[in-house]
């Protein structure tokens, strides 16, 4: 496994010198790529290195760094190696390259990301609404979205549930953890 991984890292570094590798154990490879290089990088991975399968596109809201992160999870059925491709997107201008022509299933993930995080994928097939119908607030998976406030505003509570507490304070008290300030501000 080690040899395969080394060989692959060498190949990837040769093809994409700017891609940053991060070492992991097991069958995991990890690269960070600039967002503009993503389509070329992924199609290279698919066509040349045998990562034929896109498992998922994970997404993270790094609100502190004012960035979104997308992680493309690739799988090579022949070499049994998984490849994590990280990329960062500016939070103020969330536009990402569309890759649904490389993997058709990417379309589903991108629609979800578009709805939940508000990242736009130009030229995507069927950019319709997906899970959230008639959503007119900010995308709900952004960390600056206040769920409880939204619920209070939109739905009703049955009388008798006012005692619902924020459990994090209890937990933090019990385990002695500090709650960061930004977390208090943005998210519960």
């Amino acid at each position: 496994m080690k040899e395969i991984k080394d060989k692959m890292i060498a190949q990837i570094n040769a093809a994409f010198p700017e891609a940053v590798n991060k070492a992991y154990d097991g069958n995991r490879l990890d690269f960070t790529v600039h967002k503009d290089a993503i389509p070329g990088f992924l199609s290279h991975m698919k066509d040349q290195l045998g990562f034929r399968h896109l498992s998922h596109i994970a997404y993270v809201d790094w609100i502190e760094e004012n960035e979104f992160e997308l992680v493309y999870l690739l799988w090579s059925p022949t070499d049994k190696v998984k490849l994590f491709v990280h990329t960062r997107i500016d939070r103020e201008n969330p536009v990402m390259h569309n890759i649904d022509m490389i993997w058709r299933q990417a379309n589903t993930y991108q629609r979800e990301i578009k709805e939940m995080l508000g990242i736009d994928f130009p030229d995507m097939v069927a950019p319709d609404e997906f899970i959230l119908e008639d959503w007119d607030d900010i995308p709900p998976f952004r960390r600056d979205f206040d769920t409880l406030e939204y619920v209070n505003r939109t739905f009703w509570h049955r009388p008798g549930r006012e005692d619902a507490q924020d459990v994090r304070e209890t937990i933090s008290k019990r385990s002695g953890e500090e709650i960061p300030d930004f977390a208090k501000k943005y998210s519960r």
């Binding site: 899970i131 959230l132 119908e133 008639d134 007119d136 709900p140 979205f145 769920t147 409880l148 939204y150 619920v151 939109t154 739905f155 009703w156 509570h157 049955r158 008798g160 549930r161 619902a164």
Partner: protein, 183 residues
């Protein structure tokens, strides 16, 4: 004689009796509670002996079972199906999610109070209610039908504006786009 109050009342009584003993269920599997319907209807608990029977489409059904939490996306479908059913029609809410939101009370996309959107005749508490509880709830429904108190459909019609407003609150565009189902 036909318009006579007493004879009307007699007819009404017989009709309610028939309605209560022939309840066709539209088991709309909105949430996890749908798993409890299978044992309820089949050999173990056998709701058919009480006159309950599955109906394939809303046109034929009398009662709609809301089996668990409703997301905003689902509630639109539920309302549409409810409006396609033919009066007299009843709604049974399963589990705490339909009562007060249950464990999803603070989720941004599940509703908390079902009766703001649809008239609910019987609630069955529990998370999830066991088939015994379901049978008990259905028996209660039979009872109120027999007593003529299961008038959810009329309530819905009378307070249509209120219901519609609540529905529009969570799905502003959809209600506007829907064809003329509302009556």
């Amino acid at each position: 004689m036909y318009n006579d109050k007493n004879s009307k009342k007699i007819v009404e009584t017989i009709q309610n009796w028939a309605r209560s003993h022939s309840v066709w269920v539209l088991a709309y599997g909105t949430g996890c509670g749908a798993i409890e319907i299978a044992p309820t209807m089949t050999s173990r608990y056998d709701a058919e002996r009480l006159g309950f029977r599955g109906a394939a489409t809303p046109r034929q059904a009398d009662v709609m079972l809301i089996t668990g939490y409703l997301t905003v996306k689902t509630v639109k479908r539920v309302v549409r199906v409810y409006e396609q059913m033919q009066s007299p029609k009843y709604v049974v809410g399963f589990g705490s999610c339909t009562i007060n939101g249950g464990m999803y009370y603070d989720s941004y996309n599940t509703i908390n109070l079902l009766d703001r959107y649809l008239p609910v005749d019987v609630y069955i508490n529990g998370c999830m209610p066991r088939p015994e509880a379901v049978i008990a709830g259905l028996a209660k429904l039979q009872q109120i039908i027999r007593e003529g108190k299961a008038n959810g459909a009329e309530k819905y019609l009378e307070n249509l504006e209120w219901y519609k407003e609540n529905q529009r609150k969570i799905a502003p565009n959809w209600i506007a786009k829907a064809p003329d189902l509302n009556w």
